[in-house]
């Protein structure tokens, strides 16, 4: 074991100090795509304001209705979509790196469900201010994260990615039924929660975004600080401590960051599954296994997925709207199956 450790350590400096290279170009291309998707999101909609009238607004003209729709509805919605996408994509990548499990995802593991349950509880107890909702969501996400972590630390479960996901699915289902129970108690809360709990970007205000902005920034700082130790942690706990990192502290920071990010995203948009699975999956496909490079690509990939899914959700069943969570599930489930299928296991 010691020898193996030393061998790995010998090889390490070679990549440890290499700049995350080869990421700049895909990052720029993806960011341009996000801009395009954002533009589409501003221009297209389920309502009567078509692209022509929306362009007029962007050019400084347009009629009052179009100005209202674009400025007060679609623009905030697009910005919120971008924020939610970044938060979910990055938190998925962080969780996967920490648990060393390609299936770890806030939605699948029950972090989002914990957050949603906390929000439902808060609403039931009479909370209405946006900030209060955010802290409830983040608290719920934190508890969810700690549950995930304690499960991962259990012997036999953490090493088996698929069992972890099953436990997460069971946990989510349980919390979801608790949330439904809460809804039965209180009609007012039920009406407020029911649409939110499916996961959607429609009807969210810019205030919601402003309320979560500070926590997103804090999470961003944490992520920058832990990216390098996290890459070492991907080689295993012993290797990481052999390299002078402190796995326990890194893990704690990851959990904090994930709770802040998932809590923020859930407080605005409700629980949205599979974004945290698909985005890091795509990022790894583009950038290779190094978590630092993958993290950079998650930043544009997350918004790209969420905003495009949101645009589609408006167009597919116009004039009504489809919940965003439905679309992400339809994109995400095949990726889930692909990941599971790709992991070859011995059979006979």
């Amino acid at each position: 074991m010691r020898i193996a450790l030393m061998r790995i350590a010998e090889c390490l400096p070679a990549w440890r100090w290499r700049r995350p290279q080869g990421v700049a170009r895909p990052f720029i291309v993806l960011s341009l795509l996000v801009l395009l998707a954002g533009l589409a999101s501003v221009l297209l909609g389920a309502g009567e304001v078509g692209p022509g009238r929306a362009i007029a607004v962007l050019l400084g003209g347009g009629d009052a209705e179009a100005r209202f729709v674009v400025g007060s509805l679609r623009l905030p919605r697009t910005l919120i979509g971008i924020a939610v996408g970044v938060a979910l994509g990055v938190s998925g990548a962080l969780l996967q790196a920490m648990t060393r499990n390609p299936l770890a995802e806030p939605g699948l593991l029950g972090v989002s469900a914990g957050s949603a349950f906390a929000v439902a509880l808060a609403l039931l107890l009479g909370a209405s201010a946006a900030t209060l909702r955010v802290s409830a969501a983040q608290l719920g996400a934190l508890v969810g994260c700690l549950c995930v972590l304690s499960v991962v630390r259990m012997r036999g479960v953490g090493s088996d990615p698929i069992r972890l996901v099953l436990a997460g699915a069971a946990f989510s289902a349980l919390l979801a039924s608790f949330t439904s129970l809460l809804l039965l108690f209180d009609q007012r809360a039920a009406d407020e929660i029911r649409f939110w709990v499916i996961g959607s970007l429609s009807g969210r205000r810019i205030d919601d975004l402003i309320a979560v902005l500070p926590s997103l920034l804090v999470a961003g700082v944490i992520v920058l600080a832990i990216a390098r130790p996290l890459a070492a942690l991907a080689l295993g706990e012993r290797v990481a401590s052999g390299l002078g990192h402190r796995p326990a502290r890194v893990r704690l920071l990851v959990i904090l960051a994930v709770s802040l990010l998932v809590g923020a995203a859930t407080a605005i948009a409700g629980p949205i599954a599979f974004v945290g699975l698909v985005v890091p999956f795509a990022a790894r496909a583009l950038a290779g296994p190094d978590i630092r490079r993958a993290l950079w690509l998650c930043v544009p990939l997350g918004p790209l997925m969420v905003v495009s899914a949101d645009v589609l959700s408006r167009l597919l069943v116009a004039p009504s709207e489809m919940p965003l969570g439905v679309l992400t599930a339809i994109c995400g489930a095949p990726v889930l199956v692909a990941v599971v299928r790709a992991r070859r296991m011995p059979t006979l």
Binding site: L166, A173, L181, V317, A333, L336, R341, M345, T347
Partner: protein
């Protein structure tokens, strides 16, 4: 007596063969020209377990009939069941509670037997139709028929089609990995998520009234229970149970690894198809009545297995335990927060969820059936 033994000694031997430990042996002479002996073994433990489950099921059913918005005493209930008693109570029991109780029995038994079959097929106690997405497939199709997506098929037929579709996709995706292990189950979870999303999509497209009409199918309740679906389920359950009993000897071998089962003369591929078909049939028909109450498919067989003998696959025990779980859950759902009625799907999820987590997370988890 002595003379007879001398005449045909080998037959007398057949009567006296001692049963293996833990079982009773019934032997009789086959009434055909050639003297042939038939022998049947019953596991003592399973017989006791099934009797116990039957008694508990009957008692809780009586309670189910007595308790509700109007509570009947034991004597009152007896009178009503005998066709006496007052009109209101009679109406309450015969028109409201009895059909609902029947629905609970039928769906509970169907879900549990389907679960037991699927668990045996996949050799994994987590592989119940509810978890591998078959419930969700049936639900999506049933909802589609309710919200009227240009099909005029009745919900049972649609639910069956949905169950079959979901099963086909899950098993199709698992090709290569086989039906074993967790990989297959995660594929099922993915399929279930897609069908769940489709259900939401269907509900999002239609008006609020239609959505409310379809709502029961998304959550699992005994409140709706379409009459024709009940009849279809009753017939399907009878057929399914017979088929499952017929398969039970092969099923007990299918719990071994494939090579062992094949070495003992099972044509494993054909048996798998048969078991899968019965399981899908029962799931689809039950969903058409009660919606996805998939947790019963996990809890029922689990109870039956812990009570019955380990030698066989407890088909009857699962049916009884499933019906029991359904009756008790619905009773709790009706009474606990009255006048609010908890859908039975939520009650079973709240009870079954922790159980599922326990199975997954307990130390030294053995997941073979």
């Amino acid at each position: 007596m002595h003379d007879r033994t001398l005449d045909i000694p080998q037959l007398s031997d057949e009567v006296r063969v001692p049963a293996p430990p833990g079982s009773w042996r019934l032997a009789w002479r086959w009434p055909v020209a050639e003297p042939r002996w038939a022998s049947v073994l019953v596991e003592r433990r399973s017989v006791i377990a099934n009797l116990l489950l039957t008694v508990v099921l009957l008692l809780s059913s009586l309670m189910y009939l007595a308790v509700g918005s109007v509570v009947l005493g034991p004597l009152e209930l007896l009178a009503v069941l005998r066709g006496e008693g007052d009109m209101v109570a009679a109406f309450m029991v015969h028109e409201l509670r009895l059909p609902r109780l029947t629905a609970a029995w039928l769906t509970g038994a169907a879900f549990a037997v389907a679960g037991c079959l699927m668990q045996t097929l996949a050799r994994n106690r987590l592989a119940t139709p509810g978890i591998i997405g078959i419930d969700n497939g049936a639900t999506a199709f049933a909802v589609a028929s309710v919200v009227g997506i240009s099909v005029s098929l009745a919900p049972p037929a649609m639910a069956l089609m949905g169950a079959a579709t979901a099963a086909a996709i899950t098993f199709g995706l698992a090709v290569g990995g086989g039906t074993r292990g967790y990989r297959f189950i995660v594929a099922g979870i993915g399929v279930g998520a897609v069908f769940g999303a489709i259900t939401q999509l269907l509900l999002a497209r239609v008006g609020i009234d239609t959505a409310n009409a379809a709502y029961p199918w998304t959550i699992g309740t005994l409140n709706a229970r379409p009459a024709n679906a009940m009849v279809v389920l009753a017939v399907g359950l009878a057929i399914g149970l017979l088929l499952a009993m017929w398969l039970s000897r092969s099923l007990s071998l299918m719990r071994f690894s494939d090579a062992v089962a094949q070495g003992l003369g099972i044509v494993i591929q054909r048996r798998r198809w048969q078991v899968l078909t019965v399981s899908v049939l029962l799931t689809g028909l039950a969903v058409a009545v009660a919606g996805p109450v998939g947790m019963v498919g996990l809890i029922g067989p689990e109870i039956a297995r812990s009570l019955s003998s380990r030698r066989g696959v407890p088909i009857i025990g699962s049916a009884l335990a499933g019906a029991l779980v359904m009756v008790l859950s619905d009773l709790v759902g009706r009474v606990l927060l009255a006048p609010i009625e908890l859908p039975v799907g939520i009650v079973t999820a709240v009870v079954g969820g922790p159980w599922l987590l326990w199975i997954l997370l307990r130390p030294a988890s053995r997941n073979l059936v």
